[in-house]
Amino acid sequence: MRQIADAQRVSMLIDQLADAIKRDMSGTTDPWAIVGIRSRGDLLAQRLAGRLNFDHIGVLDITLYRDDLSEIGMQPTVRTTEIPFAIDRMQVVLVDDVLMTGRSVRAALQSLMDLGRPRRVWLAVLVDRGGRELPIRPDYVAFDLAQDDSGLGLAPDNRVEVMLQPTDPEDGIVVCSSGPQVSI
């Protein structure tokens, strides 16, 4: 495991994301909501909401929408989805920590559509790891590892993890050599 960003860098990256989102927010008069995907996207959404002026903030648990439920051995733990507002006609910023295959974003989109009909959904991720298996593209990326020229020499089975307080002891981004990927 090696660290590729420390707490200070993470804070800067979140600032970058916030700035990019802010430019789009100033262009409309629609209500805006920010929704984080458990279990790091929700923390990231909170950080972003602290920097921007969001009318609504929510948390999405996508467990029940995973496309591999009948393949994996056990049922993953279900947590709560907390979106206590109607997302109809809203501009919704969907937030996740790392974008890789795109499967959790697909699940999150389906889950959002079951909750209502937003006017537009934007995708904001802290890290784009590359390795897409679905045609999904982020609107905002702070740290782009998808390009070969990132200079980090990531192997295909390397896992990129974002750590955020208070769930993790300190903020940071790390690369783990391999190991079973628990979340999609």
């Binding site: 029940l64 056990m74 049922q75 733990t77 279900v78 559509m113 909750l115 209502g116």
Partner: protein
């Protein structure tokens, strides 16, 4: 990075009773149910978790709310449901439960929800089939999902979000002998640390229950002021064969929860009933519809709990196959 402990994994392919579950199992299924509560509040009340699975309701005894609750729970998980009831089917032509189960399974069923008048029927069925079996009430034995939803309701009502019921005293009042609801509640509540007092007339409250670790009382009035929860059981006229009490009116006088009795209980005592209520016998109408009553919450929580159960047992099946 320090090695994280092995995550908990639901190990049960069947849900036959709360006696078989550990405290950790019970907390996990209830915690899972919290995640399912929200599904019923949406405009699209459905999640795709059990898409393509089939759940069979095999009910050999009358039931309205449990069966419809299981049907709705399965549909909200996107499973298909087939309904088989004892009356008007081959089951009433003398087919054994084992044969019925195996025939249903041959249609490609993933889980059977079974209610049966005989104690132990669900266990028998689980041995005969390869699919999951969920006990929806077997004779006087257990009604695990009712026990789970009662515990869920108690914990939420009393703010115990971690489902630890230490220092909470629950009275279960009525016909304990014939009640599978009482047994499932008792097993579950004791495992989560609650104190349980069983209350009823001596004819319906066998002394052997004390061996399970609960208190017994033959007088509701004696325990009223020290309990946090009053779970009032239904007098099951269909199961009372001998004269268990002199008259219904006498039972109501001694064990019915009247407004007068409620006034002597703790002001925020939680009043529960598994339904259907015999109004004026176990519960006065004013009490059943009053501010202490959580009877309708029990029903809505039942849906979330049953969704959690169906979700978990269908996952455990895969795990069992892989081992």
């Amino acid at each position: 990075m320090s090695k994280t402990p092995e995550p908990y994994c639901w190990p049960h392919k069947h849900l036959l009773g709360l006696q078989d579950l550990s405290a950790e199992d019970i907390r996990f299924v209830l915690q899972t149910a919290v995640g399912f509560l929200e599904v019923s509040t949406r405009s699209v009340k459905k999640v795709p978790a059990l898409r393509g699975k089939v759940v069979a309701n095999l009910f050999m005894e009358d039931s309205t709310r449990t069966r419809s609750s299981f049907t709705l729970a399965a549909s909200r998980l996107s499973a298909d449901v087939i309904d088989l009831s004892g009356k008007g089917s081959s089951i009433s032509k003398g087919e054994t439960l084992r044969d019925t189960g195996r025939n249903i399974e041959a249609m490609g069923i993933d889980a059977i929800v079974c209610r049966h008048p005989l104690s132990g029927a669900a266990v028998q069925l689980s041995r005969a089939v390869n699919c999951s079996v969920v006990n929806a009430g077997d004779g006087q034995h257990e009604h695990p999902t009712q026990g789970l939803l009662d515990i869920f309701t108690i914990a939420r009502q009393l703010g115990r979000t971690d489902f630890d019921l230490t220092d909470i005293t629950v009275a279960i009042v009525g016909d304990i002998t014939h009640s599978r609801v009482a047994r499932s509640n008792l097993y579950g509540l004791l495992k989560l640390g609650a104190t349980v007092v069983l209350v009823g007339p001596p004819t319906l409250l066998p002394r052997a229950f004390a061996d399970l670790g609960c208190e017994l009382s033959y007088s509701l009035d004696d325990v009223l002021d020290r309990v946090d929860v009053l779970n009032m059981l239904r007098i099951q006229f269909e199961r009372l064969t001998s004269q268990a009490f002199p008259s219904v009116r006498e039972y109501a006088t001694s064990f019915g929860l009247t407004t007068k009795r409620l006034a002597r209980a703790k002001p925020d005592v939680v009043v529960m009933h598994p339904g259907p209520i015999n109004r004026g016998i176990e519960l006065d109408s004013q009490v059943a519809d009053g501010p202490n009553s959580v009877i309708l919450s029990q029903v809505s929580h039942g849906l979330a709990v049953r969704m959690a159960v169906l979700y978990l047992v269908s996952g455990a099946k895969h795990q069992a196959d892989l081992l």
